[in-house]
Amino acid sequence: MAPSLFTNIILTLATLQGPGTRLTYRIRVIEPAAVAPRILASGAVSGPVDTDMRLTLRSDSTEVEALFQITPIGDTVNLGAEFYTRRRVGRSHRGLPIWEEDTYRRVVRLAWSDTARIYPFGGAPVVAPQRGKGVRSTWVELILDREFAGGEARPAEEFDLVDTTRNFRLEAVVRPRRARVVLNLVRGDTVSAPRGVDLIPDEPPRVVQLVLAGRPTTLVVGLTRPQPARTERERALALDVDVICLRVAPPDTPEPIGQVCGRLNNVARQLPLPTGDTLAATFAWPGPR
């Protein structure tokens, strides 16, 4: 019995972690109403099977941030959620708000076709015999989906905020194994031709040459992981997982000029160089291969 179960788990994990499997978290944020529940927002996060989902819900008195992770086991899946909650509990004698912070974990097991209902602000679901006794609050419906996607590795996010007065956010969290880094040298209004390199974190650095106004500049660049999480919130929400750092050094000395860190979100980040130029580095997901 035990070996067959173990084999089954291994085969399932091997199947799910194959290059063609893509995981999707589909969510709907729903608010209870007198007549029918109201959908406040909906969205989806997809990516490789190790993709996590970071969900942020804010109200006037409560902030809930949660990181959802899955572990496939046979035809079922373990859904784990690491919650980081801040609740306003009152005001100090000087009139400043007092917040309490809480970190906790929830795990449920469900089938792939099941719907998980998450009550982020607490309050037990109201069942018929106890109607009127339970606390009804906003909930999030989550459906997990897996499909064949032909080796697509980059995550995707879509989010439709129906009620724009609400403060919700949805993010895919994937630890990048490779990154596409596009480098430019900037001085005043002059910009060098972009130089793109595919880099792997913690691999040996590479030498790149950028030409600005006919003057070549040689740099040694390498990718590293950021420092481990220092606060409870960073650890619970894995804020450092999808961040990479570009370490820049001159070719003749191992002492680095500096480093820039960020997510793979096509946002240019700048690093001033001793030559007076500015290095602009843009992190992006690499193309499929």
Partner: protein, 124 residues
């Protein structure tokens, strides 16, 4: 108190004379009123008996207050020790009640239990 009556006191009924007796024993009558009362007591055995009865009651009250030789009925007085004791007891009860209320309902975050404020996941 009733007005001093220097004339026409003979027309007073027993009820009024009993009030005059009370006032006299409390030292609240003028000389004229006391004279009228004394004159009435000489002719009214009922009022004289009532006066003696009132005096007996006042003697009993003075005895119970621990001062049988008092000239007037001593007023009840709260002793300093008793007052301090009751103040201390009241403060203690107030502090204890406040502490219990603070534990039960007070302070930031009070109300729902911690577990009730935490998120939950339910599978459908």
């Amino acid at each position: 108190m009733t007005e001093p009556r220097d004339a026409g006191t003979s027309g007073l009924g027993h009820e009024q004379w009993l009030l005059q007796i009370d006032a006299e024993l409390d030292g609240e009558l003028s000389l004229v009123e006391r004279a009228a009362l004394a004159k009435h007591l000489m002719t009214c055995a009922h009022c004289a008996g009532a006066r003696a009865s009132q005096l007996e009651v006042r003697v009993a009250l003075a005895r119970s207050a621990g001062n049988p030789h008092a000239f007037v009925v001593p007023r009840p007085a709260i002793r300093a020790g008793t007052l301090v004791l009751w103040v201390v007891i009241a403060l203690g009860v107030g502090l204890l009640g406040g502490w219990i209320a603070q534990q039960r309902w007070g302070g930031p975050g009070a109300g729902r239990s911690l577990e009730e404020t935490r998120g939950t996941i339910v599978v459908h």
